[in-house]
Symmetry: C2
């Protein structure tokens, strides 16, 4: 086996240099430049930056909400565990309600655990930062609740992934008047959603 680079600072430097050389970041607004780099870094795909969509001022809205102490609502434990707690500006609570819902609960409500878990976000939704990194049904249910009058988050990060509903749920978010950053298409995931939160919390530092 050849020698390998073990210096963390050098690994970051080379990684970010590769991303900046290959990814189409020129079209990103300044308040989302770090977010785009971090999302690309999380997945190893520089071309994915072209699939990012956002509402105007989304990056600033997310960063300000975090500094105000907004809770971070996530749809999966993997997202929660990808968020670097020590970098959060106001010791923001990171809340995943998925394990408060059983499969029997979901079966009784004829829906997914992920969708049902979103209903438990309601008391914390106003001004929150939402990060969906797994389940399209979580994002669909959130949009439904807000359409029906639920409080509005400060920002919704849409990184649902997969073959059933991921494209459609993120397109619905992008078409809405809600503050958002989302990745168009089937691709997404917990690592990208967590990376987006980490970027809003502290840029690339």
């Amino acid at each position: 086996m050849n020698a390998w680079i073990s210096d963390p600072a050098e690994i970051y430097r080379q990684s970010f240099a590769t991303i900046r050389a290959e990814a189409d970041l020129a079209r990103m607004p300044a308040d989302l430049a770090d977010l785009a780099v971090r999302v690309v870094h999380a997945c190893g795909m520089t071309e994915i930056a072209a699939d990012l969509a956002w509402s105007e001022g989304a990056g600033l809205a997310g960063a300000q909400a975090l500094r105000r102490g907004a809770p971070i609502l996530v749809d999966a434990e993997m997202v929660a565990h990808g968020i670097i707690r020590r970098n959060l500006p106001a010791a923001n609570p990171v809340i995943c309600t998925l394990n408060e819902v059983t499969q029997a609960d979901a079966k009784g409500a004829s829906t997914t655990r992920s969708a049902l878990a979103v209903e438990k976000w309601l008391p914390r939704l106003d001004g929150s930062v939402v990060a969906v990194g797994n389940a399209p049904t979580a994002l669909f249910r959130l949009l439904e609740l807000i359409n029906a009058g639920a409080p509005r988050p400060a920002l919704i990060l849409g990184f649902a992934v997969g073959f059933v509903g991921a494209v459609e749920s993120k397109d619905a978010l992008i078409a809405s008047d809600l503050p958002h950053v989302a990745l168009r298409g089937r691709r997404g995931g917990s690592a990208m959603a967590a990376a987006a939160v980490n970027a809003l919390a502290g840029g690339l530092s």
Copy 2:
């Protein structure tokens, strides 16, 4: 917003049908067919199946190790939290040592936290199932330790991701005589690594 599919069984059925229709699974050995489907499912990319590499008998070796009670050693908390504990066949311990290592420790050893954390796997390494879903340096350090005489895992799942060392560390694993399943290239991640473990634990059930 249009109607959306909320029946979990139907979501799985349609997802797996799409994957089987689009992904090149014919070349996969029988003991890795479920693993390939689950890895594709985790990332939303059907073309990624073409980048999987494996040693002969890897799937069976991993499944048998889990049934024997092998510990699962992971390089990141996100991998640990993507593993469905209730499906593990022998209440296998899932061990992530990353948070046992501080940045000061890593700086003192002139390496990454991820690489240093792997040294803490040594007492559990023999016959284990290793899942690397994040750090190339964790995989490099593991291969170094084994080259130097450390015990051999029953299976190494190589899904390191990124721009510095991911390609090279996984190529080194694939070129070794160690039992492995790995994803060639920059792509990878915690969700894929956890999906691979989940497939070995219980197929698609």
